[in-house]
């Protein structure tokens, strides 16, 4: 390999140009005509809130999804990125946040996976190892080529991913949150490597939420919001506060129901909650009738905090109290018995048994109450569920409908129904409206308000800042496993202020 384009050989055409990229998924318009250009030897930062369309854009680049509309040119030639293979042939490599390494294979085996050097049908492992060694030398790192990848550190795996990208004639390298799991030193070494690659004329798209890094490494920045371009700046000509403003600059419309707030006694109290690096010394209180929003960037430890409260993961330390009483919570069963409910972020993987009927899903945490000496009282079950179907306006053809076949909004309502029927005192909503259409969103908000009005304590985890501002009575912000901000006076607060707490 290593016949990398010398810097700016094709001075006229940019290395990569995406024009009018459109992509929608069922119920969501992810991209509404995004433009992006990348020059050889440039590091372009891509910035935006969760859900702004960054991931979708790089999925199009990596050939994971076909675009609905738009054109992509590489070196001025139009390319059709209909598959990962086509993307690779066009010289594009994407390093995802979750690595795509086969854990049991060594670095060099991973690098040549699907692209093995063979001689007369036999793998030429020696040749592969030699080339792998060359590449790591070029990256300036030591790498044990005999260890399987799952024995390597996260930083080393990252390097394997980079080396894997360089095996091909890569001209465009996309890195999605490459430093999320790296230490400061490892990050600095990565930057040295990025600078080397830049000198070799490779164009790099760098996605990160860490502004310090963006200002340090990138040449230019593009801000996306709601699937469209907001702005584009040379990094030297823009300030951090301006970028944050542009990321969140959505105006608040009347998408949240109003309510009268009457806040009571402290109900849920969490103290010194910790688990590894994910959650460190988190403590807060939620009072009766109060909706507390817990926000922060993806990976800041919000969901992990909720799981610790709910007993889904084992906590290293910490205490959980409800109404001043200390709770023994070692598993979700105990949490539920104590009156805590968790609506998980990922409905499909954690919230629902997709192959089971919606009614069975509804009944799951409520079976003890719906049963008589172990026998499910089917008529009671049916009638109770029918009541919730009416109340929550769940649209299903019949109660035996499999959960798999419902829309996101209806799935979320089924999950809601099952926890409402449990009559929990504390409800934790993790991203309650993700993937939910606007109408259903409003209904879910109304329901949260009703619950609060009944004196329940509600903790709402959300990345959607307008939602946080529209719904919460108090806002907690997390960053890298710690609680970094608490905002009690919501009359003055802006999305920019929240974002300041959330980013390093």
């Amino acid at each position: 390999m290593n016949e990398v384009m010398p810097g700016n050989a094709h001075a006229l055409a940019p290395l990569l140009a995406m024009r009018g990229m459109v992509k929608s998924f069922p119920g969501v318009q992810a991209l509404r005509g995004v433009d992006l250009t990348l020059n050889a030897g440039e590091v372009l930062a891509l910035l935006g809130e969760n859900g702004a369309g960054k991931s979708t854009l790089i999925k199009l680049l990596g050939g994971a999804h076909p675009a609905d509309a738009g054109s992509i040119t590489v070196d001025g030639r139009e390319v059709d990125l209909r598959s990962p293979k086509a993307a690779r042939e066009a010289g594009i490599a994407v390093i995802h946040q979750e690595f795509n390494l086969v854990g049991g294979l060594t670095a060099s085996q991973n690098m040549f996976l699907g692209q093995e050097t063979a001689r007369a049908g036999f793998l030429d492992q020696r040749q592969e190892r030699r080339r792998a060694a060359e590449l790591f030398q070029r990256l300036g790192v030591e790498m044990d080529l005999d260890l399987p990848c799952n024995r390597l550190s996260t930083a080393q795996q990252q390097l394997v991913e980079i080396a894997k990208a360089l095996v091909f004639q890569t001209k465009i390298l996309v890195m999605d949150e490459p430093t999320a799991a790296l230490t400061l030193q490892e990050t600095q070494r990565l930057f040295v490597i990025i600078n080397d690659l830049r000198r070799d004329g490779i164009g790099i798209i760098y996605i990160s939420h860490r502004f310090d890094e963006i200002f340090e490494i990138s040449d230019r920045v593009i801000v996306l919001r709601d699937g469209a371009n907001v702005s584009e700046h040379a990094i030297s000509e823009v300030s951090r506060s301006r970028l944050i403003e542009q990321m969140v600059g959505r105006e608040l419309k009347n998408e949240f129901p109003s309510r009268s707030v009457s806040i009571g006694q402290p109900r849920l109290e969490v103290k010194n909650l910790s688990r590894g690096r994910a959650v460190q010394d988190v403590g807060f209180t939620v009072r009766g009738g109060e909706i507390v929003a817990l926000t922060g960037l993806v990976g800041s430890g919000r969901t992990e905090t909720a799981r610790l409260i709910f007993g889904a993961d084992r906590r290293d330390s910490g205490e959980i109290q409800l109404d001043g009483r200390r709770l023994e919570i070692r598993n979700p069963r105990q949490a539920i018995a104590a009156g805590i409910g968790l609506l998980t972020e990922d409905r499909k993987l954690q919230g629902l048994v997709l192959g089971a009927s919606v009614r069975d899903n509804f009944s799951l945490p409520n079976l003890a109450r719906l049963s008589w000496v172990g026998f499910v009282r089917k008529r009671v079950e049916r009638e109770e569920f029918a009541g919730y179907v009416d109340q929550l306006k769940i649209r299903i053809p019949h109660q035996e409908q499999r959960a798999r076949n419902l829309s996101g909004g209806n799935q979320q309502k089924v999950v809601l129904a099952k926890w409402l029927a449990r009559n929990c005192e504390v409800l934790i909503f993790d991203e309650p409206t993700r993937g939910v259409d606007v109408g259903a969103k409003y209904e879910i908000y109304e329901l949260m308000n009703q619950l609060a009005a009944r004196g329940k304590a509600i903790l709402m985890i959300s990345s959607d800042l307008p939602e946080v501002l529209g719904m919460a009575d108090r806002i907690l912000v997390m960053r890298e496993g710690r609680l970094t901000g608490e905002i009690t006076d919501l009359s003055q607060v802006t999305q920019e202020q929240i974002m300041q707490y959330a980013v390093a």
């Binding site: 598993n331 539920i336 993987l349 048994v353 997709l354 069975d360 799951l364 026998f375 499910v376």
Partner: protein
Amino acid sequence: MSGLLSKHGMILVLLALCAFFSAVTYREQSPTGAAAGRDLASAISKEFQGTPQVLIVARDLPEDAAFAAELEKAIRAAGGQVVATVKGEPRDAREAILKLVAVGTKIDFVAGTQTTSEWLVFENLAADFPTLGDPKVITPRSYFWPNFLKADNLLNIANQIAVIAIVAIGMTMVIITGGIDLSVGSLIALSAVLATRFIRDAGGAENASPMGMTLACLAATAVCGLIGSFSSLMITRFAVPPFIVTLAMMLVCSGLAFTLSSGQSIYQLPESFVWLGRGADLGLPNAVVLMLVLYAIADVLMSRTQLGRYLYAVGGNREAARLAGVPVERILMFAYIACAVLAALGGVIMASQLRSGSPTYGNMYELYVIAAVVVGGASLSGGEGHMFGTLTGAFTIAVIQNGMNLTNIESYTQKVVLGLVILAAVLFEKMRHR
């Protein structure tokens, strides 16, 4: 009904197989037994006015005895006279005739079954023994009916599949939780050996009391239940994959069964030990009755109880079930223990059927059991399956084996066909659901 069919499409396959085997075993049937006796008596009284003199000829077989007894009773009741009843060989018939000739008795009818009436003695009766008069050889009317569909054969099918079907109940639960249990075949052997050894060594061998035998069988079942709980502990607490745990236990249990029996069959058992396996107190074989009762219980358990719901939920999405407060570990333990206990029960039934305990019992049964469950529509990835489907699956396998036996297909070929049919049945299900 249509709902039942769409849920259990295998019923269609089973019915099709039954129809097929009925067609290829459609044969002329010569009736015997009590019903045939009554039938023949009324034919005689229709044909002969007055007092017919009848010689009854039957073989020395239980069904012929019933035939002869009923026939004799019916002829007497209709005012006829039975001059003699032969039960035995053609030689016995000749002797009886010679006796009648000696005393000068005339006879009007020789009444026999299809088989006895074809004996050479009766070919030229009037010419050979003129003093008898002109006796007419008469048999019950024959009819056409598939061998496959004869009541005896159907009961035979049910009896032969009882062990596999009972073990498949437990396997269905395990597979619904998304697991697998490969140890059931070995547990059958271990349980059979343990039960028979307990009877031989502690229960009084041939003189064991019913109570002693019951306790021995319960003890064997309890040991297997303990083994099941050990497996389930490995699977839940130590997170070893079920395939590996039960593969290991399959070897352990088989080895134990051979060790405990020194590789020999244990047959020092009382005659009454066969009650469970061969008896038929309610018209149906006891093992079949037990199987049907267990299926009824299991079906209620799976479809109507909290426990059943939890089994499905754990298999459908373990994490979602856990986060909904389902005690996942306890549910899994229940499934594996139930499976081991039912396998043990299968071993006891098998020992009873064969009146001995041998470490070779249940060899390869785990595969037939899994096949029954899968053919019955359960998904190996968990969360789906029904007891009724499994019963259908077990019967499908039994019907194929029985049908091939009836049509004289040799056993090696049978395996090939069975394997292909299992594959085809599962494919058929997949296509239907697409």
